[in-house]
């Protein structure tokens, strides 16, 4: 006799529920969680370093930085912001449990922005909800403007696209317009931030965008929001 057990559930339903719970907890703390995705070498660490330098003491930011091996990125960021290195030992993406352990390993205190620098990879990280409020994909000008179409899920699941290393535009065949158009075909609501972390170009606009998102998501209005912007 054959027995049929109907399930009809997403395999990732439990992981999603756990990510939602972490997101709610971070919302209660008014800590905006930003998951940063890109290929290796696109400039995630440089972007976060430039963000920390721009804000200085005006914002409390912390970083969880994921890598397959070494703590080199954490060493770069530690002088600028509380940082915990998450080493995956070969795994190609971060998962929620690693992120939660990293969050608990950070020094206690209020944090306005928790950045998760994911393992450099445009494929696997896009399938894992880390309880973030905002997902940002970084695409550098040296990678080529055809990448959004080749890695659609990373762009489809992100709310913002940072086009990094624009100081190299005179030297590489990369069209910001073509990359933007391609990415917006996949995710029409994408905010696009071309910048050069090395020279600080576009960093202020990027940081203002982060402030605006934090105010919008946590419903911070009026004078309180203006104070945050100042």
């Amino acid at each position: 006799m054959t027995r049929v057990i109907t399930i009809l559930r997403e395999v990732s339903a439990r992981a999603r529920a756990e990510a939602d719970e972490f997101r709610r907890e971070m919302s209660r703390r008014r800590t905006l969680v930003v998951n940063v995705l890109s290929s290796p070498g696109a400039g995630k660490t440089s972007l976060l370093a430039a963000t920390a330098v721009h804000w200085g003491a005006k914002r409390r930011m912390a970083v969880l930085v994921g890598d397959i091996a070494t703590d080199r990125d954490a060493q770069r960021l530690a002088p600028l912001a509380p940082t915990v290195q998450l080493t995956t030992g070969g795994a190609c993406h971060l998962d929620l449990e690693l992120v939660q352990r990293g969050w608990e390993a950070l020094p206690e205190g209020e944090v306005d922005f928790l950045f998760i620098e994911n393992v450099g990879n445009l494929v696997c990280p896009s399938s894992h909800d880390l309880g973030e409020h905002l997902r940002v994909v970084v695409l550098s000008t040296t990678e080529g403007d055809d990448k959004p179409a080749k890695y659609p899920k990373a762009f489809r699941t992100s709310q913002a696209l940072v086009i990094s290393k624009i100081d190299l535009l005179p030297h590489v065949p990369f069209s910001v317009r073509a990359a933007t158009d391609d990415a917006r075909t996949i995710q029409p609501e994408l905010s696009v931030w071309p910048l050069s972390a090395l020279h600080g170009v576009g960093i202020e606009d990027w940081c203002d965008y982060l402030d605006d998102q934090r105010n919008r998501i946590f419903g911070i209005h009026g004078r309180q929001a203006a104070n945050i912007r100042s």
Binding site: R3, I5, I7, L8, R9, S126, T185, P188, E189
Partner: protein, 91 residues
């Protein structure tokens, strides 16, 4: 199982992983049936449902960018079929 194009799961690799799992678990007769579902998107403006070509999520009917994925985003465990033995659970 239903597997969609935006799930991040490749059906051929899922089937291979299944075989590797079943061997050591002495479940050689267990079968995995994978249904590849198409990506379907609903336009929130004109309510039309379309299947995006080349992951273009702009509505082909009204050009709206306000669209939502209604199918093909995940991996869904549909149902489990168990052949029950008359004598009960084998020792």
């Amino acid at each position: 199982m239903q597997v969609g194009p935006l799930s991040g799961v490749e059906p051929v690799q899922l089937a291979s992983a299944w075989r590797q799992l079943c061997g050591p678990a002495a479940l050689e007769e267990a079968q995995l049936e994978i249904e590849e579902v198409a990506l379907e998107v609903r336009c929130q403006q004109c309510q039309g449902v379309f299947r995006p070509e080349s992951f273009s999520f702009r509505c082909p009917a009204c050009d709206s960018t306000q669209t939502e994925v209604v199918a093909g985003e995940g991996v869904i465990l549909d149902n489990i079929l168990l052949d029950e033995l008359q004598q009960g659970v084998p020792q």
